[in-house]
Symmetry: C2
Subunit: 189 residues, 2 copies
């Protein structure tokens, strides 16, 4: 257990700044984020975030990497639990709604270092988890088929429209049920 009360050697500056970033993004989006604001939120000196993450792109790279990891975990968990492709899609929407700040960053690669090695690994893992293996996780294909892209597009679009408030009131209650109803039209056929 690190000594958090010490003025120097924060203990987990990285975590504190990332958490502050999640809050800040929830309030105003990722593009207008300022390192000085994150420092204020995390109660560290204004230079600390830049010292740790180099710059804003570095910070958002770390955040996106974490996001892709969590997304991959969620999708794999849904597949393991239900064995249904439809529920993997519902988990995708669930992730976007539950982790909106992460989701907003992950799909704006202009904001971060899209060729960072750790990020690429996490992103590939998430993409791979999106491909439902007919014979189980071990023999799933590596490339995305048109059907994979259609399914991805549908859940990604639904999540985006849900998040930005474009959907009419009937659809803005529980995202799981709405996602299941909408995605079911494609996934069952």
């Amino acid at each position: 257990v690190p000594s958090v009360n010490s003025a120097y050697h924060h203990g987990d500056l990285r975590r504190a700044v990332l958490d502050a970033a999640v809050d800040a993004i929830a309030e105003a989006g990722p593009a207008t984020l300022s390192l000085r604001d994150l420092a204020r939120r995390a109660n560290v000196s204004h230079a600390a975030p830049a010292y740790h993450f180099v710059d804003k792109a570095g910070l958002l790279t770390a955040l996106a990497t974490e996001g892709f990891g969590t997304l991959a975990d969620s999708l794999l968990e849904a597949e393991r639990r239900t064995g249904q492709f439809l529920e993997v899609g519902v988990a995708y929407v669930r992730f976007a709604v539950d982790h909106q700040s992460y989701f907003e960053v992950m799909f704006r690669p202009d904001l971060y270092n899209a060729d960072d090695p750790e990020l690429r690994v996490a992103r590939e893992r998430a993409r791979h988890a999106l491909i439902f293996g007919a014979g189980g996780a071990e023999n799933r294909a590596t490339d995305l088929s048109a059907a994979n892209v259609a399914a991805w597009s549908l859940v990604h679009g639904f999540a985006s429209l849900w998040l930005n408030g474009s959907l009419p009131p009937e659809f803005s209650g529980d995202p799981d049920d709405a996602a299941r109803a909408v995605a079911g039209l494609l996934f069952r056929s």
Copy 2:
């Protein structure tokens, strides 16, 4: 024809600033847009954009309104021309790709005045054009069914993933063909 060379009374400051905004958004996205930068691009004084549009939200409201108008036109034209729902979806993707700057603003209502009367009219017209009337344009429904939302989600998601470079190389050639192949999986059934 307005006298464009006159230093005062630009002639069409509104158009010039909106066009500058489209360029600036294409380069760096809508969130980091600065009114002073637009003034530089449009060759007007730094205070002119704010004088004309009040603030950044006012500018982006005008831009989003124009975008929803163009989108509605495109969708209705596709329906009239082909009579096929699939081609309305393809036109949606085509619009997003051809007018990326507009598309990026339109679905980020936090950036503009989402309850502006003119904007609401344009947005409703686009939403309405998205609902394919089985018996022609005059007797289409007003509410979005689950099938409508599925179709909208699919083309919106496909356009988003295409624009942010998430799709694998096989899909990043001509968006029309790729969109037709992917959307066909849902629309034909």
